[in-house]
């Protein structure tokens, strides 16, 4: 039985960057999707088409181009809403990235609903983007951040979770999937428990929306944030999904054009959602590109993509496990997505990444914007390989062989 069910050849042909050679004769093996994904032709084409034929500012225009641009932009919103199972496309707010989406929640819901002494639960495996905004908010408003720890197995400590919920936090913040450990957290259960405890939940979907079927209603979160550039879309476009009821109650985020209904010199009246949260000219083409990206992902099928990545990570964990002196972090294959972070005895992760790059193998090295988690793992940095629909078993082999060579070099 073939390990891979996706048609690798067909998929890889859609991604021009994958035919890149790093040096003459050394093809790119791109294992850094967790940082950002490569882009398929049809996304590039959708953006090109927009700029070549339909480019105009949206919402306020009457001329043909403005109407076409508005229809494309709002059409993208609808597609994205469907992609994540949102009930109402007005719940989809365009942001620059997941980071801005989370900051939006902190600076609007947070500052209007929290008061001194209120508790926020934040997990220890968060990307800085789901931690620092809460730290900033806490510093401003005198809140208490309670840390939801990570276990030895690289999972959230669900015992401690229950204890923390008993302290009646106002808001709980955790990632759907860790960008370091690959851990897939039980977000649906956690959101339900949070709701029962009276807390609003913020789920960081930056690593789940690209890789597995996501249904925000099934998850039951109150807010869900993700970035387009990690899921075949362009840079500069991210999404905050939020429940319409909450969004309607929140004060606006940034001030300017589009987010207002009326303005006088003495004050303004905010617009309806989603526009209330989209001040100024939006990232029009970026939204359209993300719309094309989710259409592409759906055409391949999120279930298939997830299955493919599960197969790759199982295969990779096996191969990596056989390397002498390696430590791979995180839970077993069936509890995680296609991310493997590791260290090699006596070799700094930077050196691993650098030497692998000579063979065209692109991995990340560093703290991956998750310093507290690295502190917990008791390392300053890890090297990280991550997979997407376009990666193959052969590429995993090249990774494993490459690490073998690194080990020999530093022996």
């Amino acid at each position: 039985m073939s390990l891979v069910e996706l048609d690798s050849g067909k998929i890889r042909a859609e991604f021009p960057a994958l035919s890149r050679e790093i040096r003459p004769g050394v093809p790119l093996v791109y294992l850094d999707t967790t940082a950002t994904s490569q882009k398929p032709l049809r996304v590039l084409e959708a953006m090109e088409r927009y700029y070549r034929w339909h480019n105009a500012n949206v919402h306020r225009g009457i001329h043909t181009l403005a109407e076409e641009a508005t229809a494309e932009f709002e059409g993208a919103r609808t597609k994205i809403a469907e992609f994540i199972g949102a009930q109402d496309s007005r719940e989809v707010i365009f942001t620059r990235n997941a980071t801005e989406a989370i900051n939006l929640v902190a600076k609007t819901w947070g500052s209007s609903n929290l008061k001194e002494g209120d508790r926020i639960v934040v997990s220890e495996m968060e990307h800085h983007s789901n931690l620092v905004p809460w730290q900033m908010l806490s510093a401003e408003q005198g809140l208490e951040i309670n840390v939801l720890p990570v276990t030895e197995q690289g999972e959230l400590d669900l015992r401690e979770w229950e204890r923390l919920l008993n302290k009646e936090p106002k808001i709980v913040c955790f990632t759907h999937m860790s960008n370091v450990l690959g851990t897939l957290n039980p977000v649906a259960e956690m959101c339900a428990q949070a709701r029962d405890a009276g807390a609003v939940s913020v789920v960081d979907g930056a690593q789940s929306a690209p890789h597995l079927p996501v249904d925000v209603r099934a998850i039951g979160a109150d807010f869900f944030a993700f970035s387009g550039h990690k899921m075949c879309g362009p840079t500069g476009g991210g999404v905050l999904w939020g429940r319409a009821k909450l969004l309607n109650e929140m004060p606006p985020f940034l001030g300017g054009g589009d987010m207002i209904k009326r303005v006088q010199m003495t004050g303004f009246e905010p617009n309806e959602i989603p526009y209330k949260f989209e001040a100024g000219t939006p990232s029009i083409c970026e939204a359209i590109g993300l719309g094309a990206a989710v259409e592409y992902l759906e055409s391949v099928g999120m279930e298939s993509i997830w299955k493919h990545e599960q197969e790759l990570i199982s295969y990779a964990l096996e191969g990596l496990g056989e390397i002498n002196g390696i430590t791979v972090y995180g839970p077993e294959a069936h509890k995680r997505g296609g991310v493997a972070s590791f260290t090699l005895e006596g070799v700094h992760p930077h050196d691993i990444a650098q030497v692998l790059d000579r063979d065209g193998v692109a991995v990340r090295a560093g703290h991956h914007c998750a310093m507290p988690l690295h502190t917990k793992l008791n390392v300053v940095a890890t090297a990280r390989a991550s997979f997407y629909l376009y990666n193959t078993q052969d590429e995993v082999d090249l990774l494993v062989e490459g690490i073998g060579r690194v080990r020999d070099m530093f022996r």
């Binding site: 919402h59 306020r60 009457i62 508005t70 309806e272």
Partner: protein, 129 residues
């Protein structure tokens, strides 16, 4: 789009029917579209069966908003408030006989919005884009 300003739309704009205010009126309501400054006020007199016996609109704005108000006033003569409830976006578009982009749609729908909110307090009326 070529027939956007079909003669009869321009005619309604230049010679609005049922234009003015009713005093006293049984129902009066006004709303506007801040984006473009269109304003529509509608006054209605109804009989004991809630049938419209007199209607008038006033306000200002673009040809589409004013003509659609004028046409709507003609349409509702003698209708009951219940019948008005059934009036849809499509009815207005059919009345105007043209296609409209999202911005102009709001202009076209303003009078219907005023009518419905006025007659029923249908506050959940959504400006469809």
């Amino acid at each position: 789009m070529d027939d956007m300003y079909r003669e009869f739309i321009l005619d309604h704009y230049k010679n609005p029917r049922h234009h003015g205010e009713l005093d006293p009126a049984d129902i009066s309501y006004q709303d506007d579209n801040p984006l473009c400054g269109d304003v529509i006020r509608i006054d209605l007199r109804v009989d004991k069966d809630n049938r419209i016996i007199e209607s008038a609109f006033s306000g200002q704005g673009c040809a589409i908003s004013q003509a659609s108000a004028s046409m709507l006033m003609e349409e509702i003569q003698g209708k009951s408030l219940d019948e008005i409830k059934e009036f849809s976006r499509e009815d207005i578009l059919q009345m105007l006989g043209i296609e409209l982009g999202p911005v102009r749609l709001k202009c076209a729908m303003l009078s219907l919005k005023v009518l419905k909110v006025g007659a029923y307090g249908v506050q959940d009326w959504v400006d469809d884009e």
